[in-house]
Amino acid sequence: MNTAKLVRMANDIAANFDCGRDRASEVAGVVDHIGRFWSPYMLDAMARHMQSGDIGLSGLAEQALRELIEERSQSAETTHDP
């Protein structure tokens, strides 16, 4: 999948939650949004991309995606994906 596009999408999402206010709730907003609307396929592609060097994500986008990917890998350990 075109990861440049995924990076742009994630950065756009983060920019719209970034109000220069409460960081924790902004991160939670991005995590919730991407979790609700991205297919697992896209998240997997993003997870692979984030293992590379220059990932091109804004600070807020990166923080949120790392949390989300961590959350997923934890829940994958405890449940069996169909």
């Binding site: 999948m1 596009k5 920019a15 609307f37 297919s39 697992p40």
Partner: protein, 962 residues
């Protein structure tokens, strides 16, 4: 003993002229009692005598009076006697009074009426037997009603019998020799349509109906809505189809398949042929009015380009092969199953259509989630109103407009943002114009000088002509003005909204960066204009926002929708008639397609796929296990296709290869598929990349329902057999069965029953109730048995209203030295969306090609003159269009439409999209324009590809040699 077989049939309604009570109803609550011909009648104060009589079943002869029009009093046929009153007052202009005693018929009245008719007929052709309206002519009926037997004046005197016909309009004929100058057409143009194209020219005997400056209809300001034709009591203005075919014999009430207004129509039929479409006076969305598309542009349904047999081929370079339904469905199912086996369960998907019925879209998403086994389903709302769904759901709690259309009649201030109702939602625009003529104030927020900014008897109080792409800046500035000037509705906010979120939002909006002064440079709108608009909106008392794709089709489409909801909440403008937030939906069933679970992340009724309880409900009913994670959106499907992971797609009634942005990318994606199945009326642009073509059915060929922009579910009724044998839902069912998932619906009503079982907001909807009530606005359930015209009345659907923060983030599409202009795209009145339907009607006479509008200043700089060929280039691609040099656009902005595939507007638009929903940013593309002498390379390639594909289609139809 043998029994005679009983004759059974579900009867159509025999054709009859709709009842006309002679004057519109009075809204008064005070009742008045009078006697008419000795009969006691009780009616609201303000009712005219003619209507009171008609309500009592006494039909006073009339010609100039109609219940669609204000009383006029010119024909002198409806005169009556009133006890104690002098002379013979006209019953159409005389209001009832308590104790009034009216006589409608006696020898004196009979003589007078006969004398009036005698004068009319002395200057009227006596060709009744060969006249097009023979059998449905009010003049003829009145001559009969008054008993006219002789014309004492003879017919040799000066007359109008030789007046020349005007046949310039493709849909109706103007024959002035038959005109009685009753002014109904002129009044319909003014009062019903609001265009003021018609006048009575001259005086006395010279009086005649004239279009604009006495021009042919086609060249005049006439918008061809047909209200005048419908109003005409003679054969002066007559549908050309009626002239050709004669009177209809039965009629069926159905719903228009064009825009989101969803007008109700009487399809007036002869056998299976449509003679004319007449807007239904009992239609709750349109009240007897229509536009040029709905009334006249239905010829596409029987156009020669319709494909009526299934087609298959292995590769898009192969000729098509006409095959049986069985073979085509088998071929498609086999391909999809093999792809799934080879590339995994995520490699196939489907797309539902806003041009199809609720039942059909429901079935497609059901097939994808069950038979395909994933959530890779999306719909064309992705590219139009997906931000509406997201924005309104997160702030108010429901993904839909809050009002009924009729609500506008109680609005004091109307704010239109990024919408052009007179061309895209013309019938609602007429209703809006009526309210504006009554004195409602108007704020327009649009980069374009839309018609409503200044047109006949309408003038906007404020036009905030912002730069494309700065919507969120404007809405924040408006909110800042409201809060900084203390104009918010504190008690409403405290009573109905989440307090912490409001406080947070208030602090955010009051930051200096959101002030009108700080944002003036960004938006190009002077701060004082923004403040004036904010004061007007906040003052109300009833302020209503209407918005269109100029809000949603931006990089911050969803933010803007939330900003609109914030502003309405902050000023207390939600939860009653006359206010609200109303998205003007593009296609007829966008609302319905979204309601029916067409998005990859949610099940019908906007319930997220991760919600275990909802999933369990559907799993029980459908007998399958559902994936709890979202599937692909359309652009994700395309990206995955290009990456080689997504290989099979079923598309019902959509044309992404024309409508979606960055066409080159779309074409690449479609070419990467191993199996593309297109179900459509025509070999559309997308179908040129297909391996299976399944012929679709038009709205005239099937049963179902559409849901319009005001959440109104209206019946679509079959008036002719499907040309290819199946309604669209039946084709989906065949495919699902072939894929191994059994479906056995016998009628769309069974599908709606299933939707009602599974969806709380549809719980009370059934075909029986739709037949009974005519239409229903959801939510319709135990709490609202007859539906819900106004939402969020006491509380918001989500409980308390949620103010969401709306930071303005500038779009990445901005003008640069290389691309100094901003392209914004839109529509025209006569064409609809990709034009697949309207281009195959005579509507093409108004708009045969897409034109580039450019400001005289920008044109001059580039040496571009009117009608020159202009190259238009963006970072995505380039195309060539003809120029219209006009001040309708501001300097720095160019505008075009996307109704014709060869114009390639979407070759130029980019993949930039809304952050929340990926709705494309059609409204802002940085471009350069320059004079050229030939078509673009893309256009030349497109022409070749189209020719090749049409040749491959012709081969399917050619007789096979032995």
């Amino acid at each position: 003993m043998s029994q005679a077989p009983s004759e059974t049939a579900l009867a159509y309604e025999a054709y009859r002229r709709p009842e006309d009570l002679g004057a519109p109803p009075s809204e008064s609550a005070t009742m008045v009692r009078l006697t008419i011909d000795g009969k006691t009648v009780t009616v609201p104060e303000g009712t005219t005598v003619i209507r009171a009589a008609a309500l009592a079943g006494i039909n006073i002869p009339k010609l100039c009076a109609s219940d669609m029009l204000e009383p006029f009093g010119s024909c002198r046929l409806c005169l009556v006697e009133i006890e104690g009153a002098k002379g013979f007052p006209a019953s159409c202009t005389t209001e009832v009074a308590d104790g009034m005693e009216v006589t409608t018929q006696n020898p004196r009245l009979a003589d007078l009426r006969r004398n009036v008719m005698e004068l009319y007929i002395s200057d009227h052709p006596l060709d009744c037997l060969t006249c097009p309206t023979n059998g449905d002519c009010e003049l003829q009926d009145m001559a009969g009603a008054v008993g006219l037997r002789d014309v004492r004046y003879g017919y040799a005197g000066e007359n109008h019998l030789d007046a020349e016909k005007d046949e310039s309009n493709p849909y109706f004929t103007f024959d002035p020799s038959k005109c009685i100058v009753c002014s109904r057409c002129v009044r319909a143009c003014e009062e019903v349509q609001g265009t003021y194209a018609l006048t009575i020219d001259g005086r006395g005997f010279e009086s005649k109906v004239a279009a604009s400056q006495d021009q042919p209809f086609l060249d005049s300001e006439c918008v061809s809505c047909g209200a005048c034709v419908q109003a005409c009591p003679t054969a002066t203005l007559t549908e050309t189809s009626l002239i050709e075919m004669g009177q209809p014999e039965h009629s069926v009430i159905t719903t228009c398949a064009y825009c989101g207004v969803g007008c109700s129509f009487r399809a007036e039929m002869k056998g299976e042929e449509v003679v004319k479409m007449i807007p239904n006076k009992d239609g709750h969305a349109n009240h007897g009015h229509s536009c040029v598309k709905g009334r006249f542009a239905f010829g596409y349904a029987t156009h020669k380009d319709r494909i009526t047999a299934p087609l298959i081929r292995e590769s898009i370079d192969d000729p098509w092969r006409e095959v049986s339904w069985e073979e085509a469905i088998g071929f498609a199912a086999d391909k999809l199953s093999k792809i799934r086996e080879k590339y995994g369960p995520n490699s196939i998907g489907g797309i539902t259509s806003s041009r199809c019925t609720n039942e059909e879209t429901y079935l497609v998403q059901k097939m994808v989630r069950s038979a395909f086994g994933n959530n890779n389903v999306d719909t064309c709302a992705r590219v139009c109103h997906s931000p509406t769904g997201y924005g309104l759901k997160s702030t108010l709690g429901e993904s839909a407009g809050t009002q009924a259309f009729d609500s506008v009649l109680k609005a004091n201030v109307i704010m239109i943002i990024g919408a052009n109702p007179t061309v895209a939602h013309p019938v609602f625009a007429s209703q809006m114009k009526r309210r504006l003529r009554e004195g409602a104030r108007l704020i327009v927020i649009d980069p374009l000088q839309i018609d409503l900014v200044r047109s006949a008897h309408v003038q906007a109080d404020c036009h905030l002509q912002l730069r494309p792409g700065t919507n969120v800046a404007i809405i924040n500035a408006l909110a800042h003005a409201v809060l900084s000037e203390g104009l918010e509705d504190r008690p409403y906010i405290e009573d109905r909204c989440e307090p912490d979120a409001f406080e947070d939002w208030r602090r955010f909006i009051l930051e200096e960066r959101n002030s009108p002064e700080a944002l003036a440079e960004v938006t190009g709108v002077p701060a004082e204009d923004v403040r004036a608009a904010a004061r007007l909106y906040a003052a109300g008392p009833n302020s209503a926002i209407y918005y269109g794709l100029g809000v949603s089709e931006h990089a911050q489409g969803s933010t803007m929708v939330m900003g609109i909801a914030n502003l309405a909440m902050a000023t207390g403008n939600l939860g009653r008639e006359g206010v609200g937030v109303s998205p003007l939906r593009g296609q007829n069933n966008v609302q319905g397609a979204c309601d029916m679970g067409s998005f990859p992340h949610e099940l019908p009724g906007y319930r997220h796929i991760s919600d275990a309880e909802t999933r369990a409900l559907f799993e029980r009913e459908w007998g399958v296990e559902l994936l709890p994670t979202p599937g692909f959106r359309i652009p994700n499907m395309f990206d995955a296709a290009i990456a080689g992971h997504f290989k099979g797609l079923y598309v019902q009634g959509e044309d992404m290869a024309q409508s979606d942005p960055d066409i080159t990318h779309v074409s690449d994606a479609l070419s990467s598929l191993e199996c593309l199945i297109v179900q459509d009326l025509f070999l559309n642009e997308t179908a040129k990349f297909a391996h299976v073509f399944l012929p679709g059915s038009s709205f005239l060929e099937k049963n179902g329902t559409f849901t319009n922009a005001e959440r109104r579910i209206s019946p679509v009724r079959k008036v002719m057999k499907p040309l290819a044998g199946y309604e669209d839902w039946e084709v989906t069912q065949l495919l699902a069965n072939a894929m191994g998932y059994p479906m056995s619906y016998g009628h769309p009503s069974e599908i709606m029953d299933e939707v009602a079982r599974l969806t709380p907001t549809f719980r009370g909807v059934s075909y029986e109730k739709l037949d009974r009530l005519g239409s229903i606005q959801w939510p319709c359930n135990e709490k609202a048995e007859r539906g819900t015209p106004t939402m969020h009345v006491d509380t918001f659907t989500r409980g308390r209203g949620l103010f969401r923060l709306t930071p303005y983030v500038a779009t990445q599409e901005r003008s640069t030295a290389r691309y100094p202009l901003l392209l914004t795209t839109g529509r025209v009145l006569s064409q609809y969306n990709v034009g697949a339907q309207t281009r195959r009607t005579k509507n093409d006479q108004w708009h045969g090609e897409d034109i580039l509008e450019i400001h005289p200043h920008d044109a001059e700089q580039r040496g571009i003159e009117q009608d020159d060929w202009v190259g238009l280039k963006s970072r995505a691609g380039d195309t060539v269009l003809r120029a219209d040099v006009t001040e309708r656009v501001q300097p720095g902005v160019v505008y075009t439409t996307f109704h014709h595939p060869e114009s390639g507007a979407n070759v130029v638009t980019t993949d930039n999209s809304d952050w929340a929903t990926n709705c494309p940013e059609y409204k802002v593309t940085a471009v350069q324009a320059y004079k050229v002498t030939r078509l673009s390379d893309w256009q030349l390639e497109f022409g070749d590809f189209t020719e090749t594909q049409l040749e491959l289609l012709r081969k399917a139809r050619a007789p096979v040699s032995a």
